[in-house]
């Protein structure tokens, strides 16, 4: 470890004087963008799938929709996200003739992927809400969809917020594979610094540190949100 100071010096030079930090900032921006928008897409898809899963299945349409959703969830939970990225970027989009920046492909794939996971989280959340809540909403004449969106899902979200936070954290860390399809994330930025200075130790340590800080910030955010949502059970 004698030359650790030297290593830091080299890193700092690359990072600051040779504009490595712009790459890092783009990387950070992409990482956050992919994870945040991916999770937003995932929550929308997951909520829709979870609601379809709990619709009473008297008629044929919900049954068909439900089996489509089950297939989708099976597909996206059954394959690694890297494989999904590669398939979408190199197979599906070229076949469809769609040209899209790799970052957007990543957003889409991470959205679809987390949708599959969030659907199960959301379903458990919906099932944790007292069935009387839905009954009461239906009894005053609200439709199934409206009752779900106005009464059941808000309560479900409150119950599953910690788990959703977990999903977000997992997503942030999973984005480190987007370089497979050429999207510039944190890994690409620090790898660039490393290869150009022939010195990998410090860049990779700093990268780890940034991830830790990100995750801790998210954990804090989730806690704050939880507290504000919990005001409905506070006794005052």
């Amino acid at each position: 470890m004698g030359n650790f100071d030297k290593k830091i010096e080299i890193f700092w030079k690359m990072f600051y004087e040779y504009n490595g930090y712009t790459k890092v900032l783009t990387g950070l921006q992409n990482t956050l963008y992919i994870a945040t928008v991916g999770l937003a897409i995932g929550i929308v898809i997951g909520t829709i799938i979870a609601i379809i899963a709990v619709i009473p299945k008297y008629k044929r349409l919900p049954r068909i929709l439900d089996s489509i959703c089950k297939f989708y969830v099976g597909l996206f939970r059954g394959t690694p996200v890297v494989v999904q990225l590669l398939v979408f970027y190199y197979v599906i989009f070229p076949l469809l003739g769609v040209k899209m920046p790799s970052v957007n492909v990543c957003v889409l794939v991470f959205g679809l992927n987390s949708g599959a996971y969030v659907s199960e989280i959301m379903r458990s959340g919906i099932m944790s809400v007292d069935p009387g809540q839905l009954e009461a909403a239906r009894a005053v004449g609200l439709s199934f969809g409206v009752s779900m969106m106005k009464v059941v899902v808000p309560q479900a979200v409150k119950n599953i917020l910690p788990t959703l936070g977990n999903e977000f954290i997992a997503l942030i860390k999973e984005t480190s594979v987007v370089s497979f399809v050429g999207a510039a994330d944190l890994y690409v930025a620090f790898n660039y610094i490393g290869t150009n200075s022939y010195e990998f130790m410090v860049p990779y340590l700093v990268m780890a540190l940034i991830y830790i800080v990100l995750v801790m910030a998210i954990a804090l955010l989730v806690k704050i949100m939880e507290r504000s949502l919990r005001k409905s059970d506070r006794h005052n």
Partner: protein, 274 residues
């Protein structure tokens, strides 16, 4: 007002209702009593199709609401329901609980009218015989104002206007149930269904809830009450149905049923509970 014709309900192989035929007239207060497991609650829940009947008809204002093709949501607006477990929306304040359904329904009506008007206007541009537009004489803000005023009026009636912005978790059982009752009233229902409204309450809170129900009864509200409060049934009901094993075994005026039961099963039941 509600005609029930040969109503049957099966849960899997268990037949809970075995063919009930009855008519609930306007202004009547019908109390349903009977041992647990006799199908009282299921019967009540079938009246607004919270449980879909397996067979039979429920004719509410001339429409068979047991038919799956009927838009049940429109008819449920006219049938208020109060639950044993209150079922106030936990994520909403008291005032929002009361306002949710009326506000949503009136606002979505307004929205639908606006959308329809848009298409009529579009059509009128291209054709010579002009179609009239739907009349819109309220704005969104006005509707909100009206619904809120009505909710506050109802809250004042039960003396809980200071709890308007409290969450249900901060209220006592009796307060919750009274709010559940005025939540149903906010829709101006034509009939109210009570599913054991006092069974989940502490004894000292039963009175305030029963008083409110009694007030409604005196105002002429049609109501169907499943209850274990025999004294209350006797006092408020105009007709008592005794149910056992999925059938109405005996029905009569409260005086007759409580003083002079005819059916042996009614006698047995009443001898246990009175």
């Amino acid at each position: 007002m509600i005609d029930i014709i040969d109503l049957r309900k099966k849960f899997g192989n268990l037949e809970v209702l075995k063919g009930i035929t009855n008519t609930i007239h306007e202004g009547e207060k019908v109390a349903i009593i009977g041992p647990s497991g006799s199908g009282k609650s299921t019967f009540l829940r079938c009246l607004n199709c919270l449980e879909d009947p397996t067979s039979g008809q429920i004719i509410f204002e001339g429409v068979n609401i047991a038919d799956m093709k009927v838009d049940i949501n429109i008819h449920r607006r006219h049938i208020g329901m109060v639950f044993q477990q209150f079922n106030l929306f936990n994520n909403k304040t008291v005032i929002d609980n009361i306002m949710l359904a009326p506000l949503h329904i009136r606002l979505s009506d307004l929205r639908n009218k606006k959308i329809k008007n848009f298409f009529i206007k579009l059509r009128n541009v291209f054709t010579s015989n002009k179609k009239p537009l739907y009349e819109i004489n309220t704005t969104k803000a006005q509707i909100q104002e009206e619904v809120r005023a009505n909710a506050m009026r109802l809250l004042k009636r039960i003396g809980l206007e200071d709890k308007a912005n409290a969450f249900p978790s901060t209220l006592s059982g009796g307060q919750k149930q009274r709010i559940a009752i005025i939540r149903a009233l906010a829709m101006n229902p034509k009939v109210m269904l009570f599913d054991e409204p006092t069974s989940a309450l502490d004894p000292e809170m039963v009175g305030e809830v029963l008083d409110l129900i009694k007030q409604l009864a005196d105002e002429g509200m049609t109501m169907v009450i499943v209850t274990h409060e025999m004294g209350f049934a006797r006092e408020v009901a105009t007709r008592v149905l005794f149910m056992d094993e999925g059938l109405i075994v005996e029905e009569n005026t409260p005086e007759e049923i409580f003083n002079n039961p005819r059916n042996p099963r009614t006698k047995e039941f009443l001898s246990k509970v009175l």
